[in-house]
Structures are given as C-alpha cells and as structure tokens.
C-alpha cells in the first residue's frame, strides 16, 4: 500500500500567544515548531499500514524552507520519503493549498498512491476542508475524522467516533482519509532513525501562489481571559478552603 501523508508546520504555542506587529502571524521568535497533532498520528498510521501491507510512505508539506525540519522529523519515525512544496512563508488559503497538493501528486514517486492521509484539521488555521477539496479534484472518496483504519477484502474500513458510539465506513482504494489524534500513539524517533532520515529522498518544488479566495486580513487575540484567581492557600493546608469552596458551588452533594 502506497500512502501519501500531508502535514503542516505549526508553532508550539506554549502558554500565551503573542502576535507580530503587523498582526499577520504569531510571534515565533522564541518558539519551536512541530507537525499538527492529528497529522503526526496520520504519519504513524501510514508507517503502520506499510509495515503490515508493504508499499511505501511519503510525507508532503506546503511551507517555508524551514519546514524541511518537519519532513525529516516524520522520516525519522519511519516515513520513507518526502515532497516539499516550498513557499515564501506567507499564508496559503485552503483552495490554493489543495490545488498545490493535487499538482504535486506524482512528484517523487512513479507508483500511484492507494491512500492519501490528512489530519482532520490543521492546529493553526483549522479550515476543515483541504483533504475534501483534494479528494474532489482527484475524483476520490473521502472519509473524515477517522479513529481506526483497517484493510479488509481490498477495502478500507474506517471508524469514526460519534455521540452514542462509532460509525463504520467501507471504501475502496484509492481513497482520501482524514484522521484524529488518538487513532494511535505516535512513536518517538530513535537516534539511528534520525540518521537515516537525513539520507531519505526529498523532492522539492516551488508552486506559484494563486490569489486567496479566503483572504486573511489580520489575526486578533481574543478578549482578555486574564482572571485574578482567588488563592485558596499553599500546600496541603489549602484542603479546608478547597472543600468549603466545593460545598459552596454544590458539587459535594453525593
């Protein structure tokens, strides 16, 4: 099974977000970067599917030159190769992102993909639509928000958590599937894995950015959620005040 996984480089925001003076981006001077959590799980799922069924896995990102770090990170946990669609670092809207991914299918691999994996939504923009647009453009079925994938009788069995249980979908390949964190627990890279990742094939191209149809104007920090917490005490002596508070708000009744 040949699997393509699409990932996005996002900052590790920590406890407080601050913006650049032009309000176009998060101030990342003191931040590290990672892959969106759902997508890290998508990579782990691709590695497991290839381990079980053979084939190869490829990771793709649309992002600045620095995003090679995220591609190598995913190769370090076991993805076989990468495709880097290099940008100048500015925002690409969902339609432009999907078009660039569609245009990159075929780069770096002569064999067709059986499965295109995405995260259900990116951690930062959260547009919930790039995978669906890619599926539409390629004429492929798309299952979203998946928490379990298995291969049965040449079909993919996908399970989705819903209120009251799990919904099951059966789809033929090739297909597009978006996954949620919790589908698996991603492995950590080993030192030899990191060494191997440096030598794995990486294809780069620089797509042209079309005009945005969902055009970001500026970022806005939500109204100050900063509260003045009432300090109930220090150390175990605070227990008395905590229990008094729990009684007052009415959660001690049982």
């Amino acid at each position: 099974m040949n699997v393509l996984v699409c990932v996005k480089r996002v900052p590790l925001t920590g406890g407080k977000i601050t913006l650049t003076p032009d309000e176009q981006a998060i101030q990342t001077r003191h931040l590290g970067f990672t892959v969106s959590p759902h997508e890290e799980c998508a990579c782990e799922e691709a590695i497991r599917l290839v381990e079980q069924h053979g084939g190869s896995s490829t990771v793709l990102t649309l992002g600045p030159a620095e995003a090679e770090e995220q591609l190598r990170d995913m190769m370090a946990i076991g993805i076989d190769g990468g495709i880097h669609l290099v940008t100048d670092g500015g925002e690409w809207d969902p339609q432009a992102t999907a078009a660039a991914i569609v245009g990159a299918i075929g780069l770096g691999s002569t064999e067709p993909y059986d499965l295109l994996l995405f995260g259900n939504e990116s951690a930062d923009a959260g547009n919930y639509q790039v995978a669906i647009r890619v599926a539409q453009a390629l004429g492929l079925p798309c299952v979203n928000g998946v928490k379990a994938i298995s291969v049965a009788g040449g079909q993919l069995r996908c399970e989705q958590e819903v209120a009251g249980g799990r919904d099951v979908y059966l789809v033929p390949t090739p297909a597009v599937v978006t996954v949620l964190e919790g589908i698996n627990l991603p492995r950590y890279p080993s030192v030899p894995g990191r060494m191997r990742a440096k030598r794995k094939p990486l294809v780069a191209s620089e797509p042209a950015r079309p005009a945005a149809t969902l055009e970001m104007v500026r970022l806005v920090l939500p109204e100050g959620s900063s509260k003045q917490a009432e300090v109930l005490g220090r150390g175990p002596e605070a227990a008395l005040a905590v229990v008094a508070m729990l009684q007052e708000i009415g959660v001690m009744s049982r």
Binding site: T13, Q136, L214, V217, K227, R234, I249, R254
Partner: protein
C-alpha cells in the same frame, strides 16, 4: 435567501447556527436532509448544492460541528468556492467579512470571503441559541454520481456506557505532566471518584502513554463544560485551555505560582499535587464522616 443546515436531532449548536444565519440579515430557511440510506457527506452536499441553486441562496450556513464542517466543505469543493469554518461573526457583501476561530479558540482571524454563495459554519457558543421554528425536510437528491454514494455510514457500533463520561461530568479532575507517572494518577482518580466526576489529562500525559487519549482534554481531545474543572500539575498550554474553556469554574493546583494556567483560573492552590490532592480527598471524607 439564506439557507441554514441543521442536523437531526436539532441540538443547541444547530439552534446557534440558525441564530448566526439570522444575524447576517435577510430571510433564513432552516432545513434538514432526509436520507433513508444513512449519512453520506458527499450525497448530502450535492443535495445542498442543488437546493442553493434552486433557491438562489446568497449564503449557506451550517453548525461548526464535525458533520456541519464536513458537509459544507464538500459543498465548497463541489462549487469550487471558498468556505470559512467556525465563524464568530460575519457580514455579507462582496467580499463577505468574517471573524473566525483559529487554534481551537486561542486566536481569531479577520478574513474576507470572495465568492457566492457565501459558505460559513458557525463556531460553537459564538451566538445564543434561538428557537428555530419550522424546519424544512429536504429529501436527498436523486441526481447523485457514483462517487457521491461511496462514503456512507454502513454500521453504528453502540458505545459502552460505563462510568461518567468526560463531556457530561459535572466535575473533572485532570492531571498534567506534574503527575509524573501513570501510577501517580491514583490520587487524581480517588478525588474524581469522591466527587462523582471524571478523570481528564493533558496532551503531555497521553503522549507519555500514562493515560488513554479518550481522557485527553484539549484542542485535539475532548472539549468539556463541567461545573468545576480541577487542573492538577497542568501548566496551561493553549492546546489544553482550548478544551476546558467551557468549564464554569477552574481550580488550578500547581507548585509554580507563575504557571500560565493561573491566568485562566478562578481558584488557585500553590503546591505539589501529590500532597494537596490527597489532603483534599481526606478532608472530603472527614466532612462526610466516612
């Protein structure tokens, strides 16, 4: 004419989506889709594409739920139009202007939407729910491609109903990296059990394998809304706060008085959870005489 898609059953988020659609100005028609064969996102989207064309809709609104976002994204892909997910507010026009949620609510974005019909989903709890009135029931269209019918729910596996669920609990006691180990959660479990609540955790804890992902509170875990959230040894990363901002009250227990979680807390205890949490449990037993 603005079309507002609602799910069956019509819940609070659907009522909010209709209220959001009304805030755009103009006539709003709420509708649901009837499909005896089960949920099929692309088929339902095709139905909406045809309905929007037939009614000359200026906008289509859906709730910013898993299915609302999924169906509207399919509509957007079929029409090759932009879609803005999880909007807090919007005004129609050419282009339309929206304020939408990023980072699970830790950040907002002002954006312009260039296209027609304008496709928007409404962020949870951005506007108050309103009575919907009559919901038009639209049968799924007969004009479906083969591709539209491939992805369909073929089976529902019912959930086991053991214990208090994280999303329904009145009390959630949660542990973070500060708990230190899987075994360390015994004190968290004890307090949660005494209060009839559920156990939660931060992403650092699930990544370390101390708790299952089903316990995770956060942007990529459960979004909870208990009467009180007791966060023990949790620093307060934006990823985590995106999952617990619906809590009515927050008690943070952390040895670091500078931890960012205190900026979102109603009550604070500065101390080591391994000492504070058992002391709270002991005090509850004492008060109850057990």
């Amino acid at each position: 004419m603005i079309l507002a898609f609602v799910e069956d059953p019509v819940d609070e988020l659907c009522q909010q989506a209709v209220a959001f659609a009304r805030s755009l100005g103009g006539e709003v028609q709420a509708f649901g889709i009837e499909d005896g064969a089960g949920y099929a996102p692309a088929a339902w989207a095709q139905t909406i594409v045809e309905l929007a064309h037939e009614r000359s809709a200026s906008a289509v609104v859906a709730p910013g739920t898993d299915r609302g976002n999924e169906i509207l994204a399919h509509v957007a892909a079929k029409l090759d139009q932009p879609m803005a997910a999880n909007c807090v507010s919007a005004s129609l026009g050419d282009p339309a202007s929206v304020l939408r949620v990023r980072w699970g609510g830790s950040l907002l974005e002002e954006a312009r939407v260039h296209g027609s019909p304008v496709l928007l989903t409404s962020a949870a709890h951005a506007v108050a729910a309103e009575p919907i009135g009559e919901v038009e029931v639209v049968p799924v269209t007969g004009a479906l491609s083969e591709l539209d019918q491939i992805v369909r729910v073929v089976q529902r596996i019912p959930a086991s109903t053991a214990g208090v669920s994280l999303t329904d609990a009145d009390v959630v006691v949660s542990g973070g990296r500060g708990v230190g180990s899987a075994e360390g959660f015994s004190v968290i479990e004890e307090l949660a059990a005494l209060l009839g609540g559920a156990v939660g955790c931060s992403r650092a804890v699930t990544s370390a394998g101390w708790r299952p992902h089903t316990d995770q509170v956060g942007q990529t875990g459960s979004k909870i809304s208990p009467e009180i959230y007791i966060a023990c040894g949790i620093s307060g990363a934006t990823q985590h706060m995106a999952g617990c901002k619906g809590a009515k009250r927050l008690l943070a227990i952390n040895p670091d008085g500078e931890a960012s979680i205190f900026a979102s807390a109603d009550y604070a205890v500065i101390g080591d959870l391994h000492q504070v949490v058992p002391a709270i449990s002991a005090e509850i037993r004492k008060v109850r005489g057990t």
